[in-house]
């Protein structure tokens, strides 16, 4: 099982990551490619869930749990709720027309990927050693850091969320 492919050793873990990452990438493509907004939202749910598993493989357990709860639990429910309220399930309401913008966008995407990958990947290709110690993603470690060093940004974020709540109520209400 230990064959070398271009300087990278093929291990079972790498194959597992390939399966996870490939599925996540296909779900990401599905978000853009499906014409129906509900299908896009379900692809995004799948993508976020697979991403949570990828976070677990990075030993960031707390972040994986938060990903499932916040993104797949709260944010995607909000998306599906708005799609249902606006009745956008019918695809004929907003069919994407054929126009040159689509091919221009794809070209832009390929160019962006090629430029960033060409600049960053060659210098990091041989980097496989793990610098983080065990348990760096545990709830204890995160809580200790969040409520000591990062307590001021934490409070700022709480104010931001409060403003977000008030703003969304103001926008959604017909008449105050």
């Amino acid at each position: 099982m230990n064959q070398s492919l271009g300087g990278v050793t093929i291990t079972p873990n790498l194959l597992l990551f390939g399966a996870l990452g490939g599925a996540a990438a296909m779900a990401a493509v599905g978000v853009v490619a499906f014409n129906n907004a509900v299908r896009s939202a379900l692809c995004l749910v799948l993508n976020f869930f697979l991403l949570a598993i990828v976070y677990f493989t990075l030993n960031a357990e707390m972040m994986g749990i938060t990903q499932v709860v916040v993104y797949t639990g709260a944010i995607m429910v909000l998306f599906l709720f708005v799609i249902m309220l606006l009745n956008l399930g019918a695809p004929q309401l907003l069919r994407d027309r054929e126009d040159p913008k689509r091919w221009l966008g794809l070209l832009l995407g390929f160019a962006l990927f090629a430029i960033v990958a060409g600049q960053i990947f060659p210098s990091l290709l041989s980097h496989t050693n793990i610098g983080a110690v065990d348990g760096y993603g545990s709830p204890q470690a995160i809580g200790r850091t969040l409520f000591t060093q990062y307590v001021l940004p934490f409070e700022a974020v709480s104010i931001l969320l409060l403003i977000g709540i008030v703003g969304s109520i103001l926008l959604a209400k017909r008449r105050i």
């Binding site: 291990t11 978000v31 853009v32 990075l58 995160i142």
Partner: protein, 115 residues
Amino acid sequence: MNGVPLVAYLALGLFMFTTGVVGVVIRRNPIVIFMCIELMLNAVNLTFLAFARYQYTKLPVGDLQQQSSMMAGQMMVIFVMAVAAAEVAVGLGIIMAIFRLRQNIDIDEMNLLRG
């Protein structure tokens, strides 16, 4: 998970980010555009966590500075998630308000701010 190079995680993150950019450019449905923005934010989160795990450090274990550099990536991910939640709540509220006003949410026909 040992045996997976850093580049694999970065490649997945970059692919998701690129997909999000393409979606924002080519789609006309504002809700799908919001989903693509979420995709980009998650790609950045994945990159943060990958660098947090594979960071290059030579400080001795138990050093306070090493501890703080080890947690910085995850702290950023927490704050990005909070900002994304607020952004989605306000953005979907704006979409609802526009839909109530015009009964049409085609992004290419929104030119109210053009003056």
